[in-house]
């Protein structure tokens, strides 16, 4: 077995063992005595040392932990609030320590910024050093090749020059960088390891910058779109919108799409009856302000990509179309009203608000409001509660209850469109004096009491879909960085950098002694194998000379020596 590299090894080998990597050499943290500059220098050296990089990495992983255990406000604001309500002492403390925003907190940022400063401080000199190594020559052979981790020797009748020439050719053919010096050939291979390592670390910086830029420039908004309706990507069209702090509304890509129709299919039978099988939103979209129209279907996991934005299908529901008439029979409201699903089977609730146009029998302006309860598949009259039995619209029923008065929308407070604010409204009453309500089948009409008008549940039942539209500008860079990182990492971990020396010297008896030795930086068993293979090839060109007097001592020494262990696979 070849041994793990130990600290003392390089000292043994002098120049030959140097710079087999560009890893910074560790220095003991001697405190400087030289004023401010000295201190700054010392601090920089510490920061860019491997030891500090290691500690910062450890801190980074430790620092990430609380964010996974404590609710985070960028993930779930409600949970954070709930946590604060339940822990009145811990809550404020956590707040102070920014534990609800770990990943944007000062201390977490400090760790990774330090790490990345350290990384840059580490990469720059290493890159220079590496370029220097590429332009330089492989270091010459150490005096005593026997000290190297893998070693072999034999005696040959070939001339030393011949051996050197053959070695040089062989090593070059094996894509070593090889160089002939006074008495030996020096060769090195596997520079891609170092290159890969540098690429990997640089890619990390690219990823971080892309990630940070993405956070600052991103935007994300939601929009509910009815079948037949369209959406243009401008701020005013969004139902809700979030963006990074450097985002500018001009950055919104000017595309447009229309929801042609929404399709949902569901398991019809078995224990999973009602489980959705497919959701598909068929849209027509156009890129830019007035690009050509194209068709596409958006599915869960399959967003539409347009103009650098992605449109995700997030949810769906039903929108019964209703028509409201005033006492004279004039149509005052006609719309499909989106209702919010409240269970897996599509049971949905919402509100219908007639804001203007309606005049009551006396001719006074009034507003109308209806609480709506909808089931796509009704169980049937008298069969328990009015909850849907199946998510598809097989037996749709709309239940309405009616109010009149003021909807309270003028007060300036934003209103939930799915809820009726009945504080300033009066109930329509039935003959028993109860709230007036009725279940409607498609096509049916509910006449309001005392000829106050009517509301019709039209046959044309619409569906709606909600979309999330997001723009994450850095993501291409992040992906590029990530792929480069993997490639670099693979190079860094799978390629071995190693050196081989061949020395041929004429001995006192006129026979040439060939010595070959190899040194690898990394922990590989391959080096002895490779050396053995090279030696075998070279041996063909410079075969062993007959040994005049076998040396029993040397044989014995090699057998009993505890430090000389035949390499795995090298003896075959």
């Amino acid at each position: 077995m070849s041994k793990t590299e130990a600290p003392g090894q390089r000292d043994d080998l002098g120049a030959a063992g140097e710079h087999l990597s560009t890893a910074p050499q560790e220095e003991s943290p001697n405190l400087p005595s030289l004023g401010v500059i000295g201190w700054l220098r010392w601090f920089w050296r510490q920061l860019t040392s491997m030891r500090v990089a290691l500690i910062l990495l450890l801190l980074l992983s430790l620092g990430a932990i609380p964010g996974s255990l404590i609710p985070q406000s960028n993930v779930d604001e409600l949970k954070v609030q709930d946590f604060k309500d339940r822990h009145t002492t811990l809550g404020p403390l956590y707040d102070k320590l920014q534990l609800f925003d770990v990943y944007s907190s000062v201390w977490f940022s400090a760790i990774y910024i330090l790490l990345f400063v350290s990384l840059i401080g580490c990469i720059v000199p290493r890159t220079w050093q590496f370029v220097g190594q590429l332009r330089g020559r492989p270091p010459g052979a150490p005096k005593k090749l026997t000290r190297l981790p893998a070693y072999t020797t034999w005696r040959t009748e070939a001339e030393p020059e011949q051996v050197h020439g053959a070695a040089l050719a062989l090593l070059k053919q094996r894509r070593f960088r090889a160089d002939l010096t006074a008495d030996s050939v020096a060769a090195e291979k596997g520079y891609l390891r170092e290159a890969g390592n540098l690429v990997f670390h640089i890619a990390l910086i690219v990823m971080l910058i892309a990630f940070a830029a993405g956070q600052l420039l991103k935007s994300e908004g939601g929009k509910l779109v009815m079948e037949g309706d369209g959406f243009s990507n401008t701020l005013s069209q969004y139902d809700d919108f979030k963006s990074g702090s450097l985002f500018d509304t001009d950055d919104l890509a000017p595309f447009h799409f229309r929801l042609d129709d929404f399709q949902g299919t569901y398991e019809k039978s078995g224990p999973n009856r009602g489980t959705p099988r497919t959701y598909r939103a068929n849209v027509t979209y156009s890129e830019g302000a007035d690009g050509p129209e194209k068709k596409k279907s958006i599915e869960v996991n399959k967003p539409l990509e347009v103009d650098g934005s992605k449109v995700y299908l997030i949810g769906h529901g039903y929108a019964p179309k209703v028509t409201v008439r005033d006492p004279k029979g004039k149509v005052v409201y006609e719309a499909a009203v989106p209702l919010l699903p409240i269970d897996q089977n599509g049971t949905a609730t919402g509100a219908i608000k007639v804001l203007d146009g309606y005049k009551n029998k006396k001719g006074d302006k009034e507003q109308l409001g209806f609480n709506a309860f909808f089931v796509p598949t009704f169980a049937g009259e008298g069969k328990g509660q009015m909850f849907s039995q199946f998510p598809a619209a097989d037996f749709p029923v709309l239940a309405l209850s009616a109010y009149h008065g003021s909807l309270g929308v003028d007060s300036g407070v934003p209103q939930n469109v799915y809820q009726l604010d009945t504080r300033k409204m009066k109930k329509f009453k039935d003959s028993q004096g109860e709230l007036f309500k009725k279940r409607l089948l498609p096509g049916e009409t509910m006449e309001l009491p005392n000829g106050a008008g009517s509301i019709t549940f039209e046959k044309d039942l619409k569906e709606w879909a909600t979309f999330q539209i997001s723009q994450e500008p850095g993501s291409v860079w992040a992906l590029g960085g990530a792929l480069a990182a993997i490639a670099g990492l693979a190079g860094s971990l799978f390629i071995q950098r190693r050196r081989v020396w061949v020395r041929a010297v004429r001995g006192a008896d006129g026979v040439t002694v060939v010595e070959m030795a190899g040194l690898g930086r990394s922990e590989s068993a391959k080096l002895p194998e490779e050396l053995s293979d090279l030696a075998a090839h070279l041996h063909e060109k410079a075969p062993s000379a007959p040994d005049p007097h076998p040396d029993p001592d040397a044989e014995a020494a090699s057998d009993s020596d505890p430090d000389a262990v035949p390499a795995e696979g090298a003896e075959k």
């Binding site: 077995m1 793990t4 003392g8 890893a23 290691l54 450890l58 980074l60 992983s61 770990v102 020797t153």
Partner: protein
Amino acid sequence: MNLAATLAAEPNEDLAHISNVLIYSAMAVYLLAFFAHMAEWLFGSRSKVARTAAALTPSKTAAAAPAVAVKAKGGTATLERPQVVTRSVTGSRDVPDGPGAAAGDEKGDLYGRIAVSLTVLAFLLEFGGVLTRALSVRRAPWGNMYEFSITFSTVAVGVYLVLMALKKNIAWLGLPLVTTILLDLGLAVTVLYTSSDQLVPALHSYWLWIHVSTAIFCGAVFYVGFVATMLYLFRDSYEAKLQSGGRPGKFATSVMERLPAAASLDKFSYRLNAAIFPLWTFTIIAGAIWAGDAWGRYWGWDPKEVWSFITWVAYACYLHARATAGWKGRKAAYLALIAFACWLFNYYGVNIFVTGKHSYAGV
């Protein structure tokens, strides 16, 4: 209603039943393999092949090793191929690997081979169990923790058998591996069991195949690396004790001297961890791409994402430690243990104790 959380397919009950039978059979055969390994170790303890102690007696190591030159074999004139010698590096012990569990004892060796054959059989049964489970649910069999666990142990044994087939010196892994596989399967069929019709969600995407399969594979390799690291720590203290002239207990000696040398174990675990690290990096990136498609953001600090990241950084720490003077050896090994603990927590802990978007544990 969140659409992504509700898509699912209908299972096939018969296949699900066959799958369960196969998994239980595999457990029974693993149990037999476990006993066979025990017999191997027991018979092996009778053997008198013990070399470690001899190699480490202080007087010998103290002697400075002379430079070695290997000459032509037997001093004859012709040489097939020059023989390469490797030289120990200053500061590390030079100990041959132990002879293995059976330590040359014939009966022990027989039981060892029986154990491996049984493991192969159990592996095939378990593989069949995973396959029928996949067929029964008509999707990748990675929808909940029960399915992760059976796949995970199948892959871990697969890794072991492949290394075995490649003639790597890893017979020592047999007993600890089979033991933990039994534990893993025991947990899977009792605590984590999820009947196949209780389908959680729609991981409907080809990224499921890519991301989850590489995650499970990485886990299996990290696990084998972890076992090697543990054994390295034990063996290292044993060697250190011998070196300093101490006398480890009889039992410890009997077990430890049959293991590979500390340096070999250390290197083995390093190679596994290092080789799999790029794939782990890829796994996280694949997950981010998938999250980008499924949830509209590629990275959102979801607990599972956080712990994958922590695991990744912990393994990066370990690799850095190996390259940093003063951190090699035991200190680096401790980091490897911590990194694996992070992986384990990500696997069990996050699914069970923490809720997030990845909560499809099904327990």
